[in-house]
């Protein structure tokens, strides 16, 4: 039986993850990674849940771990996660125009990084280790090398089109 709360969170999934990691305090990071994989972010309610269920932890401690690491997101991510590399190599080869083009294309004004329809989310990362392909953009794990402002627009528009037809 899945337990649905008002926030629409399926806690039975969290229970499964916790059980798989034996409710161990030392597995907290792995648990959070798994939760993020399933829910696409770390909802506050789930962090509270984990902090209460695992012995030796508290909600505030879990929150501390989640905010310490850049890999964890406390805001919902989009169905398509766009990562723009802004490491040194990508930066000098023009990652900023690419980033700005994406922002413009998705209508993301300052401070917002997920589109209103939750289809896309945008973040910059420091280095993807693919400097030879700079500037690099990664969308849901798929690498797009040597991007330009025009090229990334085509990529995004293609995804949007596919999504529309899929529905």
């Amino acid at each position: 039986m899945s337990q649905q709360t008002q926030a629409g969170i399926d806690y039975s999934k969290v229970d499964e993850i916790l059980a798989a990691y034996e409710y161990k305090k030392s597995n907290l990071i792995a648990i959070l990674q798994k939760v993020q994989e399933v829910f696409r972010y770390l909802p506050l309610d789930i962090m509270t849940y984990i902090g209460t269920k695992i012995e030796g932890l508290s909600p505030a401690t879990v929150y501390g771990v989640a905010t310490f690491y850049a890999q964890f997101s406390l805001q919902p991510k989009g169905k398509y996660e766009i990562k723009v590399c802004d490491g040194t190599a990508c930066h000098v080869r023009g990652s900023m125009p690419v980033l700005n083009a994406i922002k413009q294309c998705l209508n993301l004004t300052d401070g917002k990084f997920t589109t209103e329809d939750s289809l896309f989310s945008l973040e910059t990362v420091s280095c993807l280790g693919a400097c030879g392909l700079a500037p690099v953009v990664v969308v849901n794990g798929k690498v797009y090398p040597q991007m330009t402002a025009d090229a990334i627009k085509i990529v995004i528009e293609t995804i949007m089109k596919e999504e529309k037809e899929g529905n």
Binding site: Q3, A7, T48, Y49, A60, T67, F68
Partner: protein, 594 residues
Amino acid sequence: MSDKKTLIINGKEVEFTDEPNLLEVIRKAGFNVPTFCYRPDLTQYGACRMCVVEVEYPNGRTIINSSCTMPPEANIKVKTNTERTRRIRKTVLELLLANHDRECTTCDKSGKCELQQYAEEYGIKDVSKYVQLRKDRYLPIDDSNPSIVRDPNKCILCGACVRACAEFQGHAVLGFANRGSKTVVQPIAGKPLGSVDCVFCGQCQAVCPTGALTIKNEVNPVWSLITDPNKKVAAQIAPSVRVAIGEEFGLEPGANTIGLINAALKEIGFDLVFDTNFSADLTIMEEAHEFVERVSKGENLPLFTSCCPAWVRYLELQHPDMLNHLSSCKSPQGMLSMVLRELVPKYFEGFTPENLNIVSIMPCTAKKAEAKREQLQKDGKYETDYVLTTQELAKMIKSAGIDFKSLEPVEGDSPFAQYTGAGTIFGASGGVAEAAVRTAYEFVTGEPLSDLDIKGMRGVDKNHRCKDVEIDIKGTKVKVRVVSTLKEAEKSLQEIKNGTADFHMLEVMACPGGCINGGGQPRSCDDTHIKEKRAQGLYKEDSELQYRRSNDNPDIKKLYAEYLEAPGSHKAHELLHTAYEDKFKGSYKDVVKA
């Protein structure tokens, strides 16, 4: 061990044995190093780097290390005060001060702040070369909590509060969040401290070196009450205040100053002064009766004591399914306020239910929250109007210009002036259980207990946070467990839930060592012996008093004869007992299913 282990500190040969770190050895040798984050009762953390020392190994290698995290080693040479260590400490202080709200004069910790103290000792006069914390970037002060005020602009991130919350109470309400220069100490997601599972024990602010966490100061409204000619104010003083407040005036920890406190309160302008020890006796009468009743019926065992408001709140928040174990007795504060409300207008001229105000002097920050409980209201009015901590009373005495030490001791006001040793020892962990057993024994057997000192229940240090004692009541073995800190209490609760618990009574005090080490007491976090001395002060008074069983107290007997009928009577229930509420639901973590 035949060979003694020694090391050299500042040229002096010092012996050491099992000290956990170099800092303890340094202090034992009569030297000192500054520290913000080291607290002997908490784990070592090494955050502040103020306790750095120069260490020279026998092979000539010299290092700088924080003495709080370094285990003592034989034959090393330690220098605590060198050019290098001074330079490091000064830089630490300068950086902390640059990033600190330096409005010292209006800070509640002013005069007791370690940052202020060291900045003065190390002669820090100018920190303008560093980037300053800008006023327009100040974070809001959080005063949503009934007992504690949090000012994040004064936090130096030493983490003492986070450790105190986790290691004493087992459920860290405060935690670090974010990383690097954005790091803050806060409740989850920056929620107000009043809206999370805080139990109000105040241990976080007791270990806080700065004004980041302070007691919610209620001195000013109390002064207004006292100076209002249309109002009458009665005070009550908790057991453990008497053995601690003297420290604020240069007396030794453990010195019994009840006479001086009574005198000071009268001098300040309180109309009547009563002793919470009296109602501690009353609590024992009710609780021992309740205990005997539960044992004979075999229901709702083990009985949990209900004197500690942090513990009561913890149960309400975390284990509402176990509230049936909790004694229905009000805490001594609640009982005395109720008795005073009922009887003071009858006994004293000029006092009416309308003009009577009650202020209690407590070692405890959680009592402030207890006084505001819905269940402790009568006719829409709180039974206790204000709760002042020991520290706040000391401030009042100082501001009134009273020379505390040279006061002439006076007695409390009758008819509730007499108290027994059983009431006094409420202030130390184990005291409530010891007092209850002394009286319960007589309730069951009809004979007084011969040996009143139940040594197994005593002890307030780190190694005495869980004590099991078996009492033989004429063939019936009664097992009592005494715990201090909620972390220990949680272990006992789990035993009960697993069915492995083997005790009939559980005494819980949330502060380590009990009320003598309460969150409202004068500072005691750097020296573990202070709380032991305070406890000795209470046990000394107990051993010297004429009456040492609550049921022998003549004023208590009179109160029952004239007014309350008998322990557990209808009247007693109406006035002295209370109810609890399931706060698990509606808590911010109501997502958690049992």
